[in-house]
């Protein structure tokens, strides 16, 4: 079975966000770029399935500028077989445009499973996966916390408020991984060496007319400075009093 894993390169979660002079984009100075953390769970699950079946291929795809090649290379080092870089310099925060580019590439691949992370930790949109599924008319489960493949079907659990939805899924399907689905492996030295020889196919793509336009990017207003109400046990009394009388919350 062919499995496709769609990954995104994002700013590290430890990044202190600064806005570029255009007032619309992230200032890239000093930013460390990583594979979107949720995508690692997706890739890991695909690799485990390939290992369990003892056959098949895992292809990673990413849409973005030339910078994303390092992330694709890392995915190859983790164990993916080959990579497709859908190259575009215009990276608009437009999930539908990205979903269309991916869907066009995925359609002829006829993957049994198409994987995504549940959301990217930059735009937090959580849309590209279900949009691709809809464009390809494939079944889809998002926020996948558990997944067991049973032939042409899968048992999948999706995290919801206060519980889980248990799904029965027919393949081919699109799944978007939640943290905790598995414990992603680190790339081994052998994997890193092997990745250097694996192919990254580069294809130029164009995102269509915008469906969503960012007008501005700004930092949230700073929180008003708070105060230390006290120390130790004596502070407990004060804290309870301010929460009751000042904040009126308890």
């Amino acid at each position: 079975m062919l499995q496709a894993v769609c990954i995104k390169q994002v700013a590290d979660t430890e990044t202190r966000v600064k806005v570029a002079p255009d007032g619309k984009t992230l200032d890239p100075a000093g930013v460390t770029w990583i594979q979107n953390p949720y995508d690692e769970f997706a890739l890991e699950q695909a690799l485990r399935i390939r290992e369990k079946l003892g056959a098949g291929e895992v292809v990673v795809l990413s849409v973005g500028g030339s910078g994303v090649q390092s992330t694709l290379r890392n995915a190859l080092a983790m164990g993916a077989d080959r990579a497709i870089h859908l190259k575009t310099d215009v990276v608009a925060p437009d999930s539908l445009a990205v979903a269309r580019v991916l869907a066009a590439e995925l359609e002829p691949m006829s993957a049994g499973l198409v994987w995504f992370g549940k959301q990217a930790v930059d735009d937090d949109a959580a849309q590209v996966g279900p949009m691709v599924a809809e464009l390809l008319r494939l079944p889809c489960v998002t926020v996948v916390a558990e997944m067991e493949l049973e032939g042409e079907r899968a048992k999948v659990e999706r995290e919801i408020e206060g519980g889980r939805e248990a799904y029965e899924v027919r393949l081919p399907a699109v799944l978007a991984a939640e943290k905790g689905l598995n414990e992603p492996r680190y790339a081994s030295l052998k994997g890193i060496m092997a990745a250097k020889k694996k192919p990254i196919e580069e294809k130029s793509v164009t995102l269509g007319e915008p469906n969503l336009e960012r007008v501005s990017l700004s930092l949230p207003p700073p929180r008003g400075s708070g105060r230390i109400v006290g120390q130790g046990l004596e502070g407990v009394e004060v804290l309870v009093r301010v929460l009751r009388e000042e904040a009126k919350l308890i």
Binding site: E14, S95, D124, G162, E165, P210, L212, S216, L249
Partner: protein, 326 residues
């Protein structure tokens, strides 16, 4: 032009987050004009006429025996069908588990953009603009909608529902549904409750979170006791979840949940930037930490410097005493 709101029901009850979405739609309609129309997928009418008081003028009911549980394909077709009928200027969802799964499917069907998990919506020169946090709240973006309908999902607990006594009941009309249960390629078989009776972190009024300073999973008992006394939901830092002390569903922060409760109590959490991102939109933040220099104190409204093992049980007792007096 009208506004369309997806009305979410589980177990035959309309969820509070949908009242919030109706409330916001009603406020927008006051500026934009036009009626507020809801669309609800359900096996039978869950009392939709009563949503008149929440701001709905009309509700389209897509009734099907199979719609007792969430049906991604069937629901998406129903909402898209409602959009065909209503031709709305905007479609609003709650950014709940269901809304965040369903809205992108409808957007792809309609070929329009979707602003997910919005925290504000405004009208500027007749154009809708949505404000939404990105990087888990480290920044906010404003987005415009070049296509119609605009699609938005609204973060729970941010928008307020209308308590509109005296408003007319909503007119409930049937919406023809095209749904074949066998065509549902991803089918919900059942819903398993993991935290019965507790509000989800994303919908909780009060959250008490614990961090690595608690030294071990067994010490979350005192966090749970304080949460119990406050009527709160328990959260956790990434360090605690990565150590396996708490399930991932409890994690607050950039690779966990982004929360906006009225009161967030951070206990023995130093305040890593990815954690702060996930909770800094809380209305009031209380930090308890023995390190007076911990970064969490920089964003806390009220700080208490002290050893959690000493002050948390005392705080729980004090809250219990207050509860007993009320």
């Amino acid at each position: 032009m009208s506004l369309l709101v997806f009305v979410e029901q589980r177990d035959g009850k309309v969820r509070a987050v949908s009242r919030e979405a109706l409330g916001e739609a009603s406020r927008l309609a006051a500026t934009l004009g036009g009626p507020v129309v809801g669309v609800c997928c359900a096996p039978a009418d869950p009392g939709l006429a009563a949503l008149g008081s929440a701001g709905a003028d009309e509700i389209l009911l897509a009734a099907h025996a199979d719609f007792a549980l969430y049906r991604p394909g069937g629901y998406a077709r129903a909402v898209a069908a409602a959009a065909e009928v209503v031709k709305p200027r905007a479609i609003l969802f709650a950014a709940s588990s269901m809304g965040r799964d369903l809205a992108p499917r409808v957007a792809a069907r309609l070929g329009v953009g979707l602003a997910a998990d919005c925290t504000a919506v405004d009208v500027d020169g007749g154009k809708l603009l949505a404000t939404r946090p990105v990087y888990a709240g480290k920044a906010v973006e404003r987005v415009a909608f070049p296509r119609t309908p605009a699609m938005l999902s609204l973060r729970p607990k941010v928008f307020t529902a209308i308590a509109g006594d005296g408003r007319a009941p909503a007119a409930v009309k049937p919406l023809a549904v095209e749904h074949d249960p066998a065509s549902e390629g991803a089918r919900v078989e059942k819903v398993v409750a993991t935290a019965a009776g507790k509000a989800d972190l994303t919908e909780a009024e009060i959250i008490v979170s614990g961090g690595r300073g608690l030294r071990g999973p067994e010490n979350f008992k005192m966090i749970e006791e304080l949460a119990e006394a406050l009527g709160a939901t328990v959260g956790a830092s990434r360090a605690v979840v990565d150590a396996g002390w708490r399930p991932h569903a409890d994690q607050v922060g950039q690779t966990g949940k982004t929360v906006s409760p009225k009161l967030y109590v951070a206990i023995a959490i130093s305040g890593a930037i990815q954690h702060l991102a996930g909770m800094s939109s809380s209305r009031c933040i209380v930090a308890i930490n023995k390190d007076a220099d911990a970064p969490i104190f920089k964003i806390a409204d009220y700080g208490l410097v002290g050893d959690a093992f000493e002050v948390v049980p005392a705080l729980t007792e004090a809250v219990r005493r207050l509860n007993a007096h009320v």
